[in-house]
């Protein structure tokens, strides 16, 4: 049975489908993890509230779409509005992130790093309950996906497209596109701009960077704000994906994979995060295929994600591309 299944798995159509799915998942993972890795790499803060802010982004993005889109809106207009929504959510959450950093994270830099974990953990509780209260006002179910937001997705994104023998969803291709834009954008920002240079210098050696005249405090604020903004943008994208959707549990659902991706890649390396997202996304897609077609065990893909984490930490504790010293944070 296993051999037959393997033979079926290796046919061009199935394998191609799995690869496209894997790339789409990788794109989502890299989007939810990149903010986390930027913040950790520079500041050594493991942001537990990242998932909650992704969830806030999903709801805000959904809100913008529901308000602007009517039944008769053309598909391309919807796409345009969606990119606009991502930009607006990114801007809003960047401001929120800046506010969080300057008011409550900043006093904690000279304490042991555990306090930043604790503080952001407390923040998670607060954010989730505030969202629940707001949802209560509008009579929305916090635990199930927000269907009205899902309905603003243009029809063609729900349909499959044939790429030679491979059948893939338009949504997957759309996600791959957005993931690529994000990766290229962050990479260009980090390597081609002066501010990116500051960030890389600060990640390498904070004291030396500030001795050379860089206002590291300001860089901290900007990076934290941008990281939160990225979380929000990722949330907006997830709002359109039926397997995720805008709901309160989305916070925990995204936080754990984001941690796995960041740790597997090596804390604080952007390149590692991208590679890890590819590894984890592919592992997820492959096990999802096997779980749907051969082995019957619910939660197998989830299990595999954590096994990837455990195995990586055993074989290479600092992560795929991690530098040992960064772990000392």
């Amino acid at each position: 049975m296993i051999v037959e299944a393997l033979a079926e798995f290796l046919t061009l159509g199935e394998l191609g489908g799995v690869i496209v799915n894997g790339l789409a998942k990788s794109a989502l993972y890299v989007m939810i993890a990149s903010g986390l890795t930027l913040i950790f790499g520079l500041m050594g803060v493991l942001n537990f509230a990242h998932g909650s802010l992704t969830m806030v982004g999903a709801y805000l993005g959904g809100l913008l779409m529901v308000v602007t889109v009517t039944g008769g809106t053309a598909p391309l207009t919807r796409l345009g509005l969606f990119f606009l929504a991502i930009a607006v959510v990114f801007a809003l959450l960047t401001v929120l992130g800046g506010a969080i950093e300057t008011t409550i994270i900043r006093p904690l830099y000279d304490r042991p790093p555990i306090y930043q974990i604790l503080l952001t953990f407390g923040l998670t509780l607060v954010i989730e309950e505030v969202v629940r209260i707001v949802l209560g006002v509008y009579d929305l179910q916090p635990l199930s996906d927000w269907q009205a937001a899902l309905a603003t997705k243009p029809q063609f994104l729900r349909e499959p497209v044939a790429l030679g023998p491979v059948s893939a969803g338009w949504m997957s291709l759309f996600q791959i596109l957005l993931g690529t834009i994000t990766v290229v954008g962050i990479w260009a920002f980090l390597t081609k701009t002066r501010y990116g240079l500051y960030i890389r210098a600060g990640s390498e050696d904070t004291e030396m960077a500030s001795a050379l005249g860089i206002d590291v405090r300001q860089v901290f604020t900007v990076v934290f704000a941008l990281g939160i903004g990225l979380a929000g943008a990722a949330g907006t994208l997830l709002m359109w994906d039926p397997t995720w959707g805008a709901s309160v549990p989305l916070a925990a659902e995204t936080l754990l994979p984001a941690f796995i991706v960041v740790i597997v890649g090596g804390l604080g390396t952007f390149r590692g995060t991208v590679v890890a997202a590819l590894v984890v996304g592919m592992a997820d897609a492959v096990t999802t295929w096997w779980f749907q077609n051969v082995i019957e065990f619910t939660g197998l893909p989830e299990l595999v994600l954590f096994l990837v984490l455990v195995v990586t930490l055993i074989v290479r504790p600092q992560g795929l591309f991690g530098v040992e010293e960064v772990g000392g944070h």
Binding site: E128, L256, G299, F306, L309, V310, Q318
Partner: protein, 441 residues
Amino acid sequence: MSRRWGAISAETEADAEAASEPPATTVETEWPREYLRDHTAHILVIALLALYPPVYHTLLNSPVSAETQMLLPTVETMVGVLYFGLFAISFDFISGYTGYLSFGHAVFYGTGAYTVILIANGKLPLLGPGTPFMLSLLVGGLIAVVLAILVGLVSFRLSGVYFAMITLGFAQVFYVFVRGWDYVATNPRDGPAVGPSHAEGFQIGAPGIDQLSLSIGVLTGDEVALLESTLSGTEVSYYMIGLVVLACYFAMQRVIHSPFGRVMIAIRENEERAVAIGYNTYLYKLGAFAISGFFAAVAGGLFAGFKRSASPENSFYFLVTGDALLASIIGGFGTLAGSLYGHLFDETVREFLSKAGQGGGLLPYLRALLGQETLDATLVGDTTIGGLIDLLLNGHASLYVGLVFVLFVLYVPDGLLGTLRERLGGTFAEALPAKLWGDSE
């Protein structure tokens, strides 16, 4: 850091004091008094906890009954405070004293809970449904010890954030596994419950001797006639579970005050130095992790014994560890007993600010106080006052607990007990007798 060093030097001073005690002859006659003196704080706390059910009961039948119901947690909630407090204490034992944040601690709690229920349902080989509860607790604890050693062997090669993440990873593997394994329950997502093969309550006491054991559980607990009143099943559970928790607490406190515990603190303060002076810190960490896992499983077993069911969400999930984390930070990280007070504080806030179970809290009190007319009065648009307080107080306790937690992290980083210790310049247990009876010298 300076505070911790201060605490250590205060403790060593106390040691020096103990060493320079009066000659042996006087010690022999003096020791019961000295013993009581050293344990004044313990006796006080135990007495307060023991008096809680009758006091609560009396207040409930007095003119301030509405206020009592609003402000104080019910006895049933207090049972939860005890067993979950034990879990938080075991979490603090490893995380607060060695500095290794065990973010997957819920796996041990869940192991204990599931072991008790599986044994009661006759699903564990060799142990039938008739196995005494005390033995089930022990078996759960031992399974957790084995698990802790296996997880620890791998995890203690890492430190800091990586250690927290790998333990979280292991715990989530078990969580997902248990949630999908249909051997443990017909619907593993909802978790197992104690079946008809074990209809009677779980007994705490000397195993096999009925006269020395009492059953626990809200419905299945024994009722005991005492003086003119009767203790309900819940109250009996409160005392019996309290006894187990107390024994576990003293065992852990004993370990912390032993040379072994000193090495744990040394690891937290400066692991490199501990290695340099010749300690095999790996083994010490592993040992501490195993001990901590054992007591976490006992706490989980008590929880399952009292509730008679468990679900993956309230035993194996990582947010269960999060609750223990809340408790130990609010109570004081690295203070052991503080975690219990932290959880008591947490539960009291939760029950006060949110309608939870039978506990009353602010919402029903406000409703009764304001009266229907005020509640129906409109504020803005079609929002009524009643609707507003309902919105803010119905089931949103996490919001307030989260705010309290953030404020604690920012402004009271040492927690309730830690701050108290800093004010007193030593532990409460040392400072209280000195206040009450003057210095022993």
